[in-house]
């Protein structure tokens, strides 16, 4: 079973080590892992879905207040972060591909690139949060910057509350993702992954893309509603 494909420098039995005894074939093991990961991601969909549902309910209730408040979001930074995350998804999928092809050098390169994009996202997000704090747009803690429409003052806080909850929870997922990528990078450096064993790369890749998808919805819903109305 473990004759070819395994590159020089790895233990020849590496693939057998990774095939758990309760699976018949590596393919079956991979299908089971994929299904399990998707099951986890569906719980994540419903976790974020609860916040999206509350967003939808409040936006429906206070349509004008939300449209007016959304103008306080920084579209340039939000849009840049969307592009950064999309780039990170590309490098992530290229990392998985490199692992599938036993290309350790490219795997390490694309993992590092993905991490750089992830950190860039968080840095930009940090600047955004800082600006919101300086402008006094943090409900409950520092709320003095919303003066344009006094009649919307309360409902504007709801949007900013949702903004910090949703982007904060998303940012937390990014931090976890970068931690997981660090783990992958160490494993890749130790030559753990090859064409016969790359399940962790693919599974963490699924997680990373999911976090990207959450942002794909957050960006228009928080930044782009009711602009220049």
């Amino acid at each position: 079973m473990a004759e070819t494909v395994v590159p020089a420098g790895t233990e020849p039995a590496v693939e057998e080590v990774h095939l758990r005894h309760h699976f018949a074939t590596p393919a079956q093991q991979m299908d089971a892992a994929t299904l399990g990961m998707w099951t986890f991601l569906i719980t994540e969909v419903l976790f974020f879905g609860g916040m999206f549902a509350s967003y939808a309910v409040y936006r429906n209730m206070y349509l004008d207040a939300f449209a007016s408040t959304s103008q306080y979001m920084n579209v340039v930074l939000g849009g840049t972060n969307t592009a950064v995350l999309i780039c990170s998804s590309l490098t992530m999928v290229l990392a998985v591909r490199a692992a599938q092809l036993s290309n350790r050098r490219h795997l390490i390169l694309f993992l590092i690139l993905t991490m750089i994009f992830g950190v860039a996202f968080l840095v930009i997000k940090g600047f955004e949060y800082h600006a919101k704090w300086v402008e006094g747009l943090v409900p409950g803690l520092h709320w003095s910057g919303y003066t344009e429409h006094p009649e919307f003052a309360y409902h504007a806080q709801i949007l900013f509350f949702l903004y910090f909850c949703m982007t904060g929870m998303h940012a937390l997922h990014m931090v976890v993702g970068i931690g997981l990528l660090t783990f992958l990078l160490v494993q890749a450096y130790r030559r753990v992954f090859n064409a016969n064993y790359f399940a962790p790369v693919e599974m963490i890749g699924l997680y990373w893309h999911f976090v990207d998808i959450v942002w794909i919805f957050l960006f228009p819903l928080l930044y782009l509603i009711g602009h220049r109305r």
Binding site: T34, L35, Q100, I213, I225
Partner: protein, 113 residues
């Protein structure tokens, strides 16, 4: 040993990436155009297309087993049920407190004009 996972072509991946970047520009651009209630519909449509592209190609749903596909669809179905039931609650809540012929006295919910 045969490979047990689909290896995507780089060209496909780059094309998807390009489409996602273009869609981001599009959704940003269209938000500056006044379309009334259509703005949110267009924004969500573009977001759904982008998310589908990521799931279908980057996450490899296209190449997975039917069982995994079924799980993905089931997850979305449950998300739909959650949002639908939440909205049916909030949408019909005001109906409860309309003054009814039999609810004149106090203690029958908040007074409405």
């Amino acid at each position: 040993m045969t490979t047990h996972s689909h290896i995507p072509r780089v060209r496909t991946l780059v094309l998807v990436w390009l489409a996602l970047i273009c869609a981001t520009g599009m959704t940003t651009g269209v938000s500056y155009v006044e379309l009334g209630w259509m703005n949110i519909v267009v924004a969500l449509l573009i977001a759904v297309v982008k998310a589908s592209l990521v799931a279908w190609i980057f996450m490899g749903v296209r190449y997975t087993t039917s069982l995994t596909k079924l799980f993905v669809v089931a997850g979305l179905l449950w998300l739909g049920i959650m949002i639908l039931l939440t909205f049916s609650d909030y949408h019909t809540r005001s109906w409860m407190y309309q003054p009814q012929p039999w609810s004149h006295g106090p203690g029958n919910g908040p007074a409405t004009k």
